[in-house]
């Protein structure tokens, strides 16, 4: 068994040296603590093959989203016309990938939009919804959970009553109602998702926070006179971080699925193309009956890939938070 190495980046280096002239900023120390925690997690995460593949997939989609204008062959919501005259709309064209004589890789929709370009630009909507909703879901949930667990008492009661109430609302129907009331656009969808989804993160982080609070190292810090926020940010937060990221990853997955569902229903953003709106359009125009599977099959595959990546990364964190599962 090897002993722990005294790494040069130790957050206590200055104290150990005895050199107290350079006052290492408290916040610098907290920051480095977080840095080390994250680095440790990264190591454990990337050990797992499924996580590595998932991260590559997400990275791939991110690149596609960023370089969409260079990858897509046309504008996603621009009607395509036959030839150069611009009179007859190029609808229901079959994909060139399947050998048809067309200039469209995946064909066109019933309204004459290029499916491939829609698919490419759809990454933007998916990633925007997924990442923003995930950050806020995990962020708000963690904050609330930490506060509720740490302060306990009336604060905890009040916050958990709120969470209980949110749990009483069925996710998709509530999002549907909210989007209907606020107006169908991408930001409202994101907002509606955030309003509900932080509930699960909050509950879990709270219970972790509750048990962490009783640990000797926290009690010691309290006795030493550490401030509440110092304890929360320095002692509690880094320990709940894996759970936060777990729910963040799951949050990406849930958000993308929810947006797809809302769009499919017909409450999607009419000015943006998303994989969900593609599916909705394909159904509205009975692509199923016409057998134009190149329209409705690819968007679902894209959703599936991105979502399962989110889940697998989250499960990677699950192994960090619960060693018995390794």
């Amino acid at each position: 068994m090897a002993q722990e190495e005294q790494s040069s980046g130790s957050i206590f280096t200055d104290l150990d040296d005895g050199s107290t002239d350079t006052e290492v900023n408290k916040w610098q120390r907290t920051f480095r603590l977080w840095q080390e925690t994250l680095r440790e997690h990264w190591g454990m995460l990337t050990d797992e093959l499924s996580v590595k593949l998932s991260m590559l997939t997400v990275a791939g989609f991110v690149l596609i989203a960023i370089f969409a204008p260079y990858i897509a062959t046309h504008q996603p919501l621009q009607r395509q016309y036959q030839g150069d005259d611009g009179i007859l709309i190029d609808k229901w064209v079959e994909p060139s990938l399947l050998g048809a004589n067309s200039e469209y890789l995946l064909g066109t929709t019933a309204e004459g939009f290029d499916i491939f370009s829609q698919l490419v630009y759809g990454t933007r909507a998916a990633l925007m919804v997924g990442l923003i909703a995930a950050v806020f879901t995990a962020g708000i949930g963690t904050l609330v959970g930490l506060v509720a667990g740490y302060y306990g008492g009336k604060v905890d009661d009040a916050l958990m009553r709120l969470v209980d109430f949110l749990y009483g609302m069925p996710l998709l129907p509530t999002v549907i109602v909210l989007v209907a009331v606020l107006g169908p656009n991408l930001w409202n969808i994101i907002l509606a998702l955030i309003v509900l989804q932080w509930r699960s993160t909050a509950r879990v982080i709270r219970s972790q926070s509750l048990s962490l609070r009783e640990r000797p190292f926290v009690k010691a810090a309290e006795v030493a006179g550490a401030g509440d926020w110092h304890i929360i940010s320095r002692h509690l937060a880094p320990n709940v971080l894996p759970m936060t990221f777990l729910y963040g990853s799951f949050g990406i997955a849930w958000a993308i699925l929810a947006e797809a569902g809302v769009s499919f229903i017909g409450l999607g953003d009419p000015n943006t193309v998303s994989w969900g709106t593609m599916l909705q359009a394909s159904r509205a125009y009975s692509a199923l009956s016409f057998g134009a599977w190149w329209w409705f099959v690819p968007p679902g595959i894209c959703i599936g890939l991105l979502v399962i990546s989110g889940f697998l990364i989250g499960r990677g964190y699950e192994e960090i938070t619960n060693p018995k599962l390794q």
Partner: protein, 327 residues
Amino acid sequence: MGKASFVVRRTLQLVVTLWAVGTVLFALFRLMPGDPTSYVVSSQMTQEARQQLIASYGLNDPLHIQYIRFLENLVVLNFGQSFHSNQPVTEVIATYLPNTLVLMLTAFIVAYAIGITLGVLSGWYRGSRFERSTVITALTARSVPTFYVGLIVLWIFGARLGVIPMSGMTSLGTGGSNAGFFDMVFSMDFVHHLLAPAVVLGFYYMGYPLLIMRSSMLEVLSEDFIDVCRAKGLKERTIMFKHAARNALLPIITAAAIALGYAVGGSVLIETVFAWPGIGREMVRAVLRRDFPVAQGTFIVLASTIIFLNFVADLAYGYLDPRVTYD
């Protein structure tokens, strides 16, 4: 003493939550920007009729009086009348709710039965190929949108192979609404229509209990009493089910309750894809048509179901786990 006060307290919580949901709905529909009267009058009406209706609904009254009346109506289940069909909303609900219940219940029961069993087995046979493929299947089931699976199933088995009906709950001409509900439910035609949506919905539901059960099994199997069971010379199967699974089951109860919040969403989407005349699909249609009374009424029914089922799950857990203290 403990048990009784536990039940009483949970019931109180139930009522409070229901009240909270109602209040939020009230606020949502009334305080949102836009025409505050549009939730009760539709744009098709004449000025006169509109004024009459507004007056009769008491919309000119101060907000708090409207709120009290709203609560009163809620308690007696008076949700108003549909803009679309002028039917009382309660009738609309009564027509569509049973269909949803049949679909959701069938899918839920099958999904949980299969999911839990597979979860127990994959937790027990950790590291095997069976476990790996089960987990991947479960994850895929939850990653691909459920309505997408429905679309694919409809396309392959409906449009291409013609084995399943393309929509609806009953075929035209089988006397749907004339026949009694139970007569209908037990007809072959109904089962034929129920098959695809129930399977797709079940497939979607199954992932969650499977994964939870597996994690739970892994946790339980690392406990000391499992070693003692082995030392006692019990058969492996006895240990797996009587001891491990029984303990691992406890978190599933709470998990199932949480899952319900998402399960309803799934049924909404499946009903839409398969044109199953259920309350979920009705809610969506009402929302899209701006038929606020129906939208409000159906939403309240859905939310109430969730809240009530959470309550039942709470009680069930308390009954199943002897360690729960009724504080």
